[in-house]
């Protein structure tokens, strides 16, 4: 503070301490001797005393104008404000945070480790998924029969030309063919249809879709989207 007052000569800090009775007895005696030798310093000390007198006198005058009851009200208001602030501070500190806030607060110091863990998890996902997927370049199967499906014996009722066997896979029996539920009473949604016979039409009743074709006649093509 004293550094910002250029009109105060050196030793101003000591002067202020002397003025405030903050010097030890030896320093006080030494400073008193210095005051005797330096009139300017004494003038500063006098000005300080004058300032204090003015301030305290004014404050005392104003205080004397305020009734004592008013002081009680002021102190009550101060106590109330302080108490309110302390209560709010306690509530903020005691307010439970959400699990995500707590989790983030716990993980934030170790964000690098968390990112590394996430990267590890991503690698594990990739590896596990790769293990579940079939590899590429699988050997070709016979016609369109799935690799895992057993080849059924030719059925005598099927009059399949020998040269068509490679192109027409034999049916593979489902393990529990009788386990089908009753058909759902719904129409099919026809995306595209090509009739090869003489005639063809689509009938949709709302519960079943019937495609009518004829087994003879010239081929007839059509594309429909219903």
């Amino acid at each position: 503070m004293t550094d910002r007052e250029p009109d105060i000569p050196s030793g101003a800090q000591a002067l202020q301490q002397y003025f405030d009775d903050e010097l030890d007895p030896a320093a006080e005696a030494a400073f008193a001797a210095k005051l005797d030798r330096e009139p300017a310093l004494r003038e500063h000390l006098r000005q300080l005393g004058r300032i204090r007198e003015l301030v305290t006198h004014d404050l005392e005058r104003r205080a004397s104008e305020v009734p004592r009851a008013r002081f009680e009200q002021v102190w009550d208001e101060i106590d109330r404000v302080i108490g309110e602030e302390q209560r709010q501070a306690r509530e903020v500190s005691a307010q439970p945070r959400s699990i995500w806030q707590r989790l983030w607060a716990a993980l934030r110091p170790a964000s690098v480790q968390v990112l590394a863990a996430a990267a590890t998890a991503a690698v594990v996902v990739f590896v596990v998924k790769s293990m579940n997927e079939p590899g590429v370049n699988q050997p070709d199967g016979v016609a369109s029969v799935p690799h895992s499906a057993p080849v059924a014996k030719p059925q005598p009722t099927v009059s399949t030309p020998p040269d068509a066997i490679a192109h027409v896979p034999l049916p593979v029996a489902a393990p529990d063919g009788d386990a089908f539920p009753a058909p759902s009473p719904v129409d099919a949604e026809i995306h595209g249809i090509e009739f090869g016979g003489r005639n063809g039409r689509i009938s949709q009743t709302g519960t079943v879709t019937v495609l009518y074709v004829e087994d003879d006649g010239a081929p007839q093509n059509s594309e429909r989207s219903l």
């Binding site: 998924k129 049916p171 058909p183 995306h191 090509e194 090869g196 016979g197 087994d215």
Partner: protein, 172 residues
Amino acid sequence: MTHRTPHRSLVAVLAAALAPVLGVSAAIAVPSAAQAAVSKANCRLHQVLLSKEGDGNVPKELAFLRDTLKNDEFAIYKGFYLLERKTLKLDLESRVDAGFGTGHKLGLTLLGGDDAKLKLRAELTGRDGVKSLLDTTYSIQNNGQLMISAGSHTDAGRSGKLFFAIQCGSSA
């Protein structure tokens, strides 16, 4: 200072320990969501003869068709005869053919779908097993049924219309 608190170390250790667990869990969860798309289906095919002559009773082996045959579409038919039944297992994008004693061949291909609906392709040949009568792509509710009428037919002295009933359901 490079002082590391025990709390930070604990978090790092926990994160490292949980990473594989999270990864495996995600790997299990992600395919299960993706597998909502159907890759296999079971189908049953029935070849039936519907005749205008008969007592109107649906035989036991065609009981599953009873509701369908009550439809006005089939009101003119009084005789119902099962000629042949096939069951097929379909893999995605793999055509499987079924041959019938009448000479017809019915090829089915599972094109996709989900747990609720299947997309299929049906290809039916004539009695010679070669000539194409029908080639259609359709979507239908899981275990829904598509009927195909393939013209007139006579079997064991009974004359009527030949029908194919195709019912497919997704399988695991």
